[in-house]
Subunit: 496 residues, 2 copies
């Protein structure tokens, strides 16, 4: 019976992974006129997969396996997670799922058009409907304390408002004085990133970085897309994308390392658990911890550039003639309040997330109306970052998430950074030579440690359980704050 | 009810087209380790699509629609073809379909390995099983005169041994004297193709050719693969692939034009018939007629090079310094018996097909055993082309088709050339300025004529009905023979 359950789930995984290939192609190579039929092909695959996992047969199997005494530990863990998924899925009536799917298309198109015309009014009517639908979804799922709990749980099982409030309260108290201290110090110059870096050399260097990280190019590849992303079709085929701007080297470099971190996680999931919960990532927060650990803790470290800077300078001798390794290290850690979340530094980034978290909570509890959203947005940016967007495109319309109905997603970005810092401290304890290894271009022990401690478990543990298992402690923002303080003390010559 | 039938078929089409995307990726971008999971993803999609089109609901719908008086002509045509497909599909028990699918994988892998080791013995056991299975398939389908009829009908509905024997008897009588005459004349030199042509310039020129042909680059794209092919995910997304050999310009050029011809057909199928028989190509023979018409009748014509030669020479001034347009025209029509079918000229090509046709017929009727196949192969090559393969890789193991179980496929290549010649004569009658148009780089009227007369019909007509509708006559090899004689009279200065 377990075997049949596995077969059904793997069949659904085949369909979902096929859809992922279609999605990857859509963002990388699909010609423009292919969009309409691609949309219906993706919709068909989604409904087929949904039919399978919510089929009466799957319900029967899960009900029986729930009490099956003959399963081993891993099998039990799969069945447990599948039952959780199934319970959650079955709370949404098919009519609701269809309504949400249709509204998502409408809302996404409205967002695209609103961005194009820089006009929030175009987005507002669909977004209003979306907020109403997500509020209904929270009621359907059910919750104990706050409707937002039901939504965030989809992305980060076990997370809730009580826990996130604590986390973000800490940020609100601790980060502003850090930011103020940095702003008062002599500023870092990052002009070097905006010189002319020819496309092909940028590309080749980024591939070299991916390989050094341990990304298996026989089980993946890098392509160009408008927005960088990573996607997996199996642990043996995990792809990353990036973009190249000849006058902004930072654009390619950090997205390569970031997506590479995500991809290493997917390549490290156990093949033999293909299609099963234990073959999937633990949560979005843990996923983001992997990308941020590589991007920030490793990629923006002095050790990393000790190894890579001579190589980079050899590729771009003219552009970097007047630049030292330390200049580069400082430049890639420049702190400065800015409008765009995805381009923010490691400190101000969390204000971006905080702002979205506070707004989302209010929208879902009904204390903020969509009509008042742009004003609330601008006010929050002034309050936390001291800047005001000149338009909606660089303000409230910048992120796609709300148009997808992804309320509860943003907090996982901050969770990811915090988990990353906590994991990274632990990794340094476990691998005493880690920093000198990285300075010598050797990250294999780090990757092996991540594989053993995080990747191979799949969804076996909730994020906070996993964190405790790996680090001996539940998530504790102190690790992140200490990491930040230590890093910027060196860079800005300040004391916190 | 017709609506429900359409929905079911379009859902199956979505799945098949998704599988086509996965197949395209497999041949173009997939990293090597992705192969195993990709295999199972494709198998899952294939079985899902098969379940849909053979579902009890589909049988009911087709049975009722068969006698529905309320359908219009196009709807009737769809229902007729779907019933034919359904009758054929239902003759194969699921166990047989599964056995064939499993054997196909085994046989394909054996063929790959046999080729690698240049050892027919590695392929023979699987191929023996395959021939036995195809003989059983012919029995399951049923036939009137010859078991091969049942198999060829899958690729070319309506074709059969009686008709093909007539066709190939004509070839056996008419082509040898033509070939002998050409061989006796002073030979054409095609060295110019084998100079050094840098990759990027080759590529850019091939894209320019595709655009001139009318291939819509907004609804398609060209990529690199080991074996050139074209594939369609919808009429709005039809892709071609090619390969680049810097020391064999012919390799890229002809495959681009050939696959471009296939792709123009797919781009010309009616969008509103997506997923239905009238939205699909008429047959493999008609499909091949489109690729050969563009590759041979247009692409290897004097008019074509009148337009393109100055452009080509501008791109490759050094390589072509001593070459005239006439040299190039002659070079690309050089006739010479050779071992590899896919590289053969327009005359000797049909001996390659004839040899496979004769062998297939004997294998399927049981008068030739797989063990005797290599000897039969070499004997036939000596008999018809006067050459003997030095090894099996360039002999009996060169083509993939038999490993796929595709017996009855090869004749469609010759049918395609013959249809192409007959269509092309008709197109010249309909567009009196066609040759001067082509010489001026204008092929839009030709494409419009193909769209109106062939593409837009989809599978409405059988190939021979379509041929009669378009040209006023059933397929008549005289058109091809006259085309060949006229062409080579000019090139070799001979009389036939």
């Amino acid at each position: 019976m377990y075997e049949e359950y596995v077969q059904l789930l793997q069949k659904a995984a085949d369909i979902n992974n096929a859809a992922a290939v279609l999605g990857w192609d859509q963002e990388t190579y699909m010609p423009p006129k292919g969009a309409a039929f691609r949309g219906r092909q993706l919709a068909t695959l989604a409904s087929l997969s949904h039919e399978l996992v919510t089929s009466p047969r799957m319900s029967e199997l899960l009900a029986q396996l729930r009490t099956d005494k003959g399963l081993d530990e891993l099998q039990k863990a799969n069945v447990l997670r599948s039952n959780e998924d199934h319970d959650k899925n079955s709370k949404l009536p098919p009519a609701f799922v269809e309504e949400l799917s249709l509204l998502t298309s409408e809302c996404f198109n409205a967002w695209i058009e609103a961005r194009r015309q820089n006009d929030f009014g175009i987005f507002a009517p669909s977004l209003t409907k979306m907020v109403a639908l997500k509020r209904r979804q929270a009621e359907l799922y059910g919750y104990k304390a706050h409707p937002y709990d039901a939504l965030v749980d989809e992305y980060e099982p076990g997370a809730n408002v009580a826990m996130l409030d604590r986390l973000f309260d800490g940020i609100k108290q601790q980060l502003p004085p850090i930011l103020a201290t940095i702003k008062a110090a002599p500023q870092v110059n990052d002009d070097l990133f905006y010189r002319h870096y020819p496309r092909q050399q940028q590309w080749d260097f980024s591939v070299a970085v991916l390989k050094t990280m341990g990304y298996d190019m026989e089980a993946g590849r890098q392509d160009i897309s408008e927005h960088p992303f990573s996607t997996s079709f199996a642990p043996t085929d995990v792809r990353v994308t990036t973009r190249v701007d000849e006058h902004n080297y930072a654009s390619l470099l950090w997205s390569t390392i970031h997506e590479g971190g995500h991809a290493l996680y997917e390549q490290g999931l156990p093949e033999e658990q293909y299609g099963l919960p234990l073959g999937a990532a633990a949560s979005l927060g843990i996923h983001e911890s992997q990308s941020r650990l590589w991007e920030n803790c490793v990629g923006r470290s002095e050790a990393f550039w000790q190894y890579f800077y001579p190589q980079l300078q050899a590729v771009f001798p003219q552009q970097l003639a007047d630049v030292t390794a330390t200049d580069l290290y400082k430049a890639c850690n420049k702190v400065e309040p800015s409008l765009i979340r995805t381009e923010a530094d490691e400190v101000t980034y969390h204000f971006h997330v905080l702002i979205r978290y506070e707004i989302e909570k209010q929208l879902i509890e009904g204390t903020l109306q969509v009509a008042d959203l742009p004003a609330a947005w601008n006010e929050a940016y002034q309050k936390y970052l001291g800047i005001t967007p000149p338009d909606h495109k660089t303000g409230v319309l910048q992120d796609v998430h709300w148009s997808h109905g992804s309320f509860g997603y943003f907090p996982t970005y901050t969770l990811g950074s915090f988990y990353a810092a906590q994991f990274y401290i632990k990794a340094q304890e476990a691998i005493p030579t880690l920093l000198t290894d990285i300075a010598a271009g050797k990250t294999s022990d780090l990757l092996a440690w991540l594989r053993t401690n995080i990747h191979r478990h799949g969804r076996r543990y909730y994020s906070d359980e996993l964190c405790e298992l790996v680090t001996g402690k539940r998530l504790d923002p102190t690790y992140f704050l200490n990491y930040i303080k230590q890093k910027y003390t060196g860079i800005y010559g300040v004391r916190f």
